[in-house]
Amino acid sequence: MNELMPEQFMFLSAALFIIGMVGVLTRRNVLVIFMCVELMLASVNIAFVGFAWEFSQMTGQIFALFVIAIAAAEAVIGLGIIMALTRQRDTVDINEVRELRQ
């Protein structure tokens, strides 16, 4: 293996995405879940940038930029919700928040 293969970044992206997903499914602390979501978004960026590199395109990088911008917006809203949640319920345990489940 003398050259960087496209499969490598694809596997990295997939692995990070799946780790993030498993984290979302298994953790209960809402902040850790939030971090896992950020990880999943970052893993998608790797795929975008990797494909851009593979095909000498710029579209992938530009989309990754948009993803980062949206992730920042999501972070702001998500943390705002978590703050409001802890203020009202005094918990960061996702299993104790059941308002929307009824």
């Binding site: 997939a14 902040l31 095909f55 703050m83």
Partner: protein
């Protein structure tokens, strides 16, 4: 070049290990640090994939802002019982890992049997260098072909900011802080009393102007300002 592959594999390995550490750490602060490590490695991989601008943005936005915010919230929400383990129920864990494995298998198959190949674009290493660099190329493309998306993104960010302001504003039902005790005037148990209402009496006073809008009233005598405004008024009426 073999060195490139080696470095890539090293970075990927660290990124994956720290990502695994993130979801298994008991303490959310430790998880956040593991995530920082992952993101730094991802940024390094971006540089290897000729996306220097994105690497910088990744560090500034993700690690510099988002993770600092997360740490801030982590410390703010519950400083006293922070290192608590919020792990899932056993069923949840098994289910989560199961789904993860299945997805990994699916994606592996998809990657290894991949057939879609796009036409190589103009932006290979030489093309980017000819256009002045990674940032210049991104800038030119972003503000020519993607004007509408970037405006939409700006709107999303604005909406998010307003939303965060709305979410973060203090509770309405929060109990008001204890009201300040205002007590009726009592005598100082000395020969001189004190005013109930100073302001009208001060109009005639000897005023020393201090810096800005502040005044100091210079009292020459202990008997100044010892009658209340009401008494003054009564006195004036009787006269």
């Amino acid at each position: 070049m073999a060195a490139e592959v080696l470095i890539f594999n090293l970075l990927s390995a660290v990124a994956i290990v720290s990502a695994v550490a993130m979801i298994t750490m008991r303490n959310p602060v430790h998880s956040a640090i593991a995530l920082v490590l992952t993101f730094v490695n991802v940024a390094a991989i971006f540089i290897m994939l000729r996306a220097e601008f994105l690497a910088a943005v990744q560090i500034i936005v993700y690690t510099g802002a988002v993770l600092v915010l997360i740490l801030f919230v982590l410390m703010l929400v519950n400083p006293d019982d922070l290192p608590e383990f919020h792990s899932g129920k056993p069923m949840q864990n098994v289910f989560g890992f199961g789904v993860g494995l299945i997805l990994l298998a699916e994606i592996s198959v998809a990657i290894l049997t991949r057939t879609v190949v796009a036409e190589p674009g103009p932006w290979n290493e030489e093309g980017v260098a000819a256009a002045g660099g990674n940032i210049q190329v991104i800038g030119q493309l972003l503000y020519s072909g993607y004007v509408l998306p970037i405006q939409a993104t700006a709107l999303v960010l604005l909406a998010a900011t307003i939303g965060a302001l709305f979410l973060g504003r203090p509770d309405e039902d929060q109990e008001p802080s204890p009201k300040r005790r205002t007590v009726a005037t009592i005598s100082l148990a000395h020969t001189r009393g004190a005013d109930d209402d100073l302001i009208p009496a001060l109009r005639a006073a000897n005023i020393k102007r201090e810096a800005g809008d502040r005044d100091l009233i210079m009292a020459r005598d202990a008997d100044e300002f010892t009658t209340s405004a009401e008494e003054e008024e009564k006195k004036g009426q009787s006269e």
